[in-house]
């Protein structure tokens, strides 16, 4: 035994005699993680969160969240002598006088954008592959919670510098709060500490931004990851992989080295972007004053679709009994997102109600094999993209010399027409892909080699695919639709007949698919 081994052994012994961790650690180190590029998306989320914590802590060392007025006396000439909030002045100081401060600001902002993008990509991966199914519904809901927290945290974050752009964002936030019937005005006055912009909002959201929400993030992320650990990761179907096992690399050393290395790569890419592509140059916007605004005011991208919905809303307000209800704000900013996010959170239960499938699932779906779900996902993405396009309608109009009114009308109509269209097209595409799979299994790969038969006929040689590949393409299960009759044996309507009818209809739509190739089919074709 070498000295190093001896020392390590002593240390391990010291710990184990006190907390008895050897058994648990041994078991954990044998943990297996399946490999697939799409499983990295969740890792990107976690790593950018760590980067946000590190860079954010750096920024707090200099940032002053106060709304008190100061006269700027820093090194940035164009703003010298101008009255501004201490928050804005200290952000300028971080950008110009703290060495590496601007880099850290850029890293923080880039990491936030990438954090949200990775959450969305991770969510789509989980959705399209059916990873949210039993037993992982809790983790799906926790993920939706993290996404929602991300919106709030991001909004607060880019509001803190108190520049002209972020102040405009807060003006809109206060208008949304004011639009809430009954209590909105009061909530707004309490949050802002008076009439907008008030005196208290920045210090308050600073505390939320650096303490309360990151704390909530940390707690939820911990549970999220612990559940992945405990329930073991899902895997794509393939030879040797079943619902009862998990095939992959053990945590030590391969997974650890890859994941650890990947953290540095994510950090490195974010740092590189921050070094060469500057975003949110707050010194160009100037300090916030409610009487001014800059053209092309845009929120960060993950809020853009909400802004797009607000922009396309019809000018509806109800005035009655001395009160006003602003439908033009409530519907796009609160009601529609509320319905979308609630529906998204409950989707695992909705799908299992439709299919009647209450079993555990650890093998992932290939999106094409579940056309209805895939189409629903693409439909939702289309909805958000149309809204996002409208959120940038002014930018699009100026860059491409289009009419802003036309883009708005395109979005107003498109938001209703394009998502259903996307649904239909995606469903057809999925079925075509299934047909392609079927052809590949039955007839093999086209080799491009033409052969002339003795009879004079030309045929192309097809090469059979490997048994492994054949298994991947045919191992998915095709559950039949639920049979729910609205009437019983004597023709009397059952209780809940309408509910059953809806469920049977949905179940039928969900079960659509091409019959997959069986070994009998193959045998038959070999006979020919």
């Amino acid at each position: 035994m070498t000295t190093a081994e001896k020392r390590l052994g002593n240390a391990a012994n010291f710990v184990d005699e006190r907390i008895g961790a050897a058994g648990w650690v041994k078991k954990s180190l044998n943990k297996v993680f399946p490999d697939h590029w799409s499983f990295m998306l969740g890792e990107v989320c976690m790593y950018s969160f760590v980067i946000l914590l590190l860079s954010g802590t750096f920024l707090t060392l200099w940032f002053d969240p106060s709304q008190r007025d100061v006269i700027y006396e820093g090194v940035y000439e164009p703003l010298k002598g101008i009255k501004m909030s201490a928050a804005y002045a200290s952000t300028l100081d971080i950008s110009f006088e703290v060495r590496g401060g601007l880099l850290m600001r850029q890293i923080h902002h880039w990491a936030a954008n990438i954090f949200m993008a990775a959450i969305v990509a991770h969510l789509l991966r989980v959705f399209f592959t059916g990873a949210f199914r039993k037993p992982r519904e809790f983790n799906w809901i926790l993920g939706i919670l993290l996404l929602t927290l991300g919106f709030v945290e991001g909004l607060f974050g880019y509001s803190l510098p108190d520049d002209l752009l972020s102040g405009t964002g807060l003006r809109i936030t206060s208008a949304i709060i004011q639009a809430i019937p009954l209590v909105g005005t009061y909530i707004s006055f309490f949050l802002f500490g008076g009439a907008f912009p008030g005196v208290g909002f920045l210090p308050r959201i600073f505390t939320l931004h650096v303490l309360l929400i990151p704390g909530a993030f940390l707690a939820v992320i911990t549970i999220h990851v612990m559940l992945v650990w405990y329930q073991k990761h899902t895997q794509f179907p393939g030879p040797g992989r079943t619902e009862k096992n998990v095939v992959g690399h053990p945590i030590l050393p391969v997974y650890m080295a890859k994941a650890g290395g990947f953290f540095f790569i994510v950090f490195g890419v974010i740092a590189f972007l921050s070094a060469v592509a500057s975003i949110n140059p707050i010194w160009l916007y100037g300090p916030y004053t409610p009487g001014q605004i800059s053209a092309g005011s845009q929120p960060d991208w993950y809020m853009g679709w909400l802004d797009g919905l607000v922009r396309m809303a019809p000018p509806w307000e109800t005035h009655a009994f001395g009160h006003t209800v602003s439908w033009n704000i409530l519907i796009p900013a609160l009601i529609v997102p509320g319905i979308l996010f609630t529906g998204m959170a409950f989707y695992p239960f909705i799908e299992s109600w439709i299919t009647g499938d209450k079993r555990e699932h650890h093998l992932l779906d290939r999106p094409r094999n579940v056309p209805n779900r895939t189409a629903l996902g693409v439909m939702s993405i289309t909805f958000v993209i149309v809204a996002l396009i409208n959120g940038g309608n002014d930018i699009l109009a100026t860059n491409f010399h289009l009419s802003i009114n036309q883009i708005m009308w395109f979005s107003r109509i498109g938001i209703f027409v394009l998502p259903p269209l996307a649904f239909v097209i995606t469903k057809r595409l999925c079925l075509s892909l299934q047909r392609a799979d079927r052809d590949l299994v039955l007839h093999g790969l086209e080799t491009g080699r033409l052969v002339r038969m003795p009879s004079g006929e030309f045929v192309e040689i097809h090469e059979p695919i490997s048994p492994q590949k054949r298994f991947v393409l045919t191992s998915h299960e095709q559950a039949p639709a639920l049979e729910l009759s609205a009437t019983d044996a004597r023709g009397v309507k059952r209780p809940g007949a309408i509910k059953n009818k809806v469920r049977a209809r949905l179940s039928k739509a969900h079960a659509v698919g091409l019959p997959k190739v069986t070994s009998e089919d193959l045998k038959e074709i070999e006979h020919h």
Partner: protein
């Protein structure tokens, strides 16, 4: 279809060829070395490069050398560290796949029964079902207990009172330019002119941001015959000069874009468009109400003044707003 089992394992070069293994080892070492060099670049930039040196780089434009050195040094030190670790894992670490077995998450029936029994037993011991006095008083106090945390937040801010209905415009308040604080002679405004104004404040009164959030008024002069206004609204103008609140009636942004040819005002936040000739009527976008119009005239010296305060709330709607 039958599961054919995993495809046969293919050995990597470094597994069979000691030369390839050596090469891979060197590659990893080079990557780690480059990471170290990049960290030195960061340190050099921090200590030795002044913060006001700029260099022109094609595509990127003029760049601050110190910022660039710090950023590139940091990103490359991180990137090479990550690449080295992954290269190491891919080329040299064992790559055979391992199989773990899953267990069903449902607890065994015995465990479930045991749990139910324990809970029932505990419930029976405290006799919660029979002690309704305790149950009710506990519910009562827990309900009250939830109130103080909400109540304690009351002092976060003042009550709205009339703050959203009132501005600093009063009868006789002069319109002054923003910025500049100069009163405006009606005769100084040419046709086509647009001026942002604020109410003149008594000396020594500081203008708060919350004042600027509701007081700004846009002054626009067009040819008087172009107005298509009701007699009341026309009476609120002065010689082709019309005054609107600059705070958008939709969400309170500054309605800052004026198109002189069409005489439209556009809010850059959500593109609500208001027609100046028709009393800021909404002709496009999500805003539901015209911009409030300020009744203006001139005083004996010829300076523009407000004849009356706004006769409605400026800015976005809220529940208590009486729009009648």
């Amino acid at each position: 279809m039958q599961d054919p089992g995993p495809a046969p394992h293919v050995m990597r070069n470094a597994d069979i060829d000691p030369k390839a293994e050596k090469r891979a080892e060197q590659q990893v070492a080079i990557l780690f070395g480059l990471s170290g060099v990049s960290s030195l670049l960061l340190i050099y930039s921090y200590v030795f490069i002044a913060s006001d040196v700029f260099v022109f780089i094609p595509v990127m434009g003029s760049q601050n050398v110190q910022q660039l050195g710090l950023g590139l040094g940091m990103s490359f030190s991180l990137l090479f560290l990550g690449l080295g670790a992954i290269h190491w894992a891919k080329k040299l670490m064992p790559e055979t796949e391992v199989i773990n077995h899953r267990h069903e998450f449902r607890s065994s029936d015995e465990d479930r029964d045991e749990l139910v029994k324990t809970v029932k037993h505990a419930a029976a011991e405290v006799k919660l079902g029979r002690r309704s006095l305790i149950k009710r008083s506990l519910g009562f106090s827990l309900g009250l207990f939830a109130l103080p945390p909400v109540l304690l937040l009351r002092d976060l801010g003042p009550l709205p009172k009339k703050q959203l209905e009132t501005t600093n415009w009063k009868a006789g308040t002069r319109l002054v330019t923003d910025p500049g604080n100069r009163p405006i002679l009606a005769s100084d405004l040419e046709v086509g002119a647009v001026v942002q104004t604020l109410p003149e404040m008594p000396d020594e009164t500081e203008r708060l941001l919350s004042d600027i959030a509701k007081d700004p008024v846009l002054l626009i002069r067009i040819r008087a015959e172009e107005f298509q206004l009701s007699p009341e609204k026309l009476a609120m103008t002065h010689d082709g000069i019309i005054a609107f609140s600059k705070i958008c009636s939709h969400m309170g942004c500054a309605v800052a874009l004026y198109e002189q040819t069409t005489k439209h005002l556009l809010c850059p936040c959500h593109q609500s468009t208001f027609d100046v000739t028709r009393g800021a009527k909404v002709i496009f976008g999500p805003a539901a109400r015209p911009l409030p119009q300020l009744d203006i005239t001139v005083d004996e010296e010829g300076y523009l003044i407000a004849r009356a305060p706004f006769n409605e709330s400026v800015g976005p709607s809220y529940w208590e707003r009486n729009s009648q």
